[in-house]
Symmetry: C2
Subunit: 299 residues, 2 copies
């Protein structure tokens, strides 16, 4: 089954103590669509500017991602630049330029409207809601979000929660959204706000999955001795998650658990190199191999 | 198979916003021995003063803990007092009085020396090493420790690591001991320092287990919506861990994994009430029931 991924497409510039990288591929839809592509066909909706490098488009194409929904707008692509500290653990944002993303309104090509599995990548909840209005009878809609939207667009986000099957966010965001510092209570409060399920990401500590009927699942992260760049890991988690659901066409809680694990594993690869560099070299077989190793680590 | 537990026995005074409790049972050996007692026979070694309440001794007796190694010294029992903040999440130490514990040197009754499973509860590594010298051909020796000993008794601790089969400590302590901020690397460094295994506790995020030959296991914590008092949870983890090993008399890595889960579950009960109050009411059946629920949460 195909997956629809909507989100941001960005050009990232990254400065490290030893090097500088410009116009790296970034943005929630870029990471998530490539992550999902290891599981099956992907329809991508996003916006790019005139400066978007052909090689990035070629990466999407090489992953067989459908680009009929990739809008080209006059202007520059959404741009982010940041700097990493010596130990590579912290990064700070140097600049953000929305550019063509500022006026972006997701428009689904007619052929995309019936895509059964939908990932609303991390963008403003008002844009995510626009997508909800355009899809026709989806089987499962997942929304990703972040602290920024909880702070500045809480009302939209709360409305969105009534329209999606699942929300993905990290532990501090779950606490922020519910104003509860116990993560178990926070998870339960979020499913009470609308979505059937919520996945709470905890970085190196793994992920919790909560269901409206008291379902609960906890999994660890794949152990990594070196984390080169956690940027995009959350988007990869979401992409891998929806990709697995679509491939198996099974939305039972048992299969959602497996989707959480698959998403975590794709995210673990993402952290191993800058930008999408690890994902460019990744194969579906690599994920299968890591799944086997992980099975021994958690049981 | 019996378990030997050596550690501190304390009387805790706790002040909360609404109440005050005095002379509560506390100390690493108290928690650990009671935790281990749900799995089989326990030999306890520790010291108490003249003021030690009979009811606490009765609690040990009711759990069939052997008290031949419980030394009565002239003076007062090791005493700790602390205060909890309104949300019960933080507590601060008001006073610590070592009292009879100051001159404590663990002396094993002859009948204890051949106890096959040994838990060196959280006390100074120099005292833990005294126990190592007195035991005869133990099958498995586990040492628990804390940040204080890493800070003030690192040399003793490093020597101890060469004499035990396993170390238990929490995530920040593992980073402190190895001066490495990546937990996976830290775990590997600790097993390289001597012990065959190390368990790294992560509180609400569960526990990691590392083996010298690259073995690795990750498990989540039992989900708790309310944590009344995390005091003693680490000691209960250690007690449940060694208790399970002794009951099954199996030190394979597969069984160490199960021991980590059993230890985590006993620790989860401990957090549900003040002091040992939850453990006083606990039954072996409660642990079995929670194990079943947990199985569904992690697979």
């Amino acid at each position: 089954m195909p997956v629809l991924v909507v989100g941001s497409i960005a050009l990232d510039s990254i400065k490290t103590p030893t090097s500088e990288h410009h116009k790296l591929l970034g943005g929630s839809a870029s990471y998530a669509s490539v992550a999902a592509s290891f599981f099956g066909p992907v329809n991508l909706v996003g916006v790019i500017g005139n400066d978007f490098p052909d090689k990035h488009k070629q990466l999407f194409a090489s992953r067989k991602i459908d680009l009929a929904g990739l809008e080209l707008a006059d202007g520059e692509t959404f741009a982010w630049s940041g700097e990493y500290e010596v130990n590579m653990n912290n990064r700070k944002t140097l600049s953000v330029a929305l550019n063509v993303f500022e006026k972006f309104e997701p428009k689904l090509p007619e052929a995309y409207r019936a895509t059964p599995y939908v990932l609303l990548g991390n963008i403003a909840p008002s844009l995510q809601r626009m997508v909800c209005k355009q899809v026709v009878k989806p089987k499962f809609v997942v929304a990703d979000t972040m602290d920024l939207w909880i702070s500045i667009a809480r009302e939209d986000l709360v409305e969105l929660l009534k329209e999606v099957d699942m929300l993905i966010l990290n532990d501090s965001e779950a606490k922020q959204l519910t104003e509860d510092d116990n993560l178990i209570r926070a998870g339960k409060k979020i499913v009470a706000m609308g979505p059937r399920y919520v996945a709470v990401k905890k970085g190196e500590h793994g992920c919790l999955l909560f269901g409206k009927n008291g379902e609960f699942f906890s999994t660890g992260a794949f152990p990594l001795e070196t984390i080169h760049d956690p940027t995009g890991a959350g988007d990869c988690f979401a992409g891998g998650f929806i990709g697995h659901l679509a491939r198996t066409d099974d939305t039972s809680f048992g299969n959602l658990k497996e989707a959480v694990v698959q998403g975590s594993l794709v995210a673990s690869f993402c952290c191993e190199e800058f930008s999408l560099r690890r994902l460019e070299k990744l194969t579906a077989e690599d994920i299968v191999e890591r799944r086997k190793a992980f099975a021994a680590y958690v049981a």
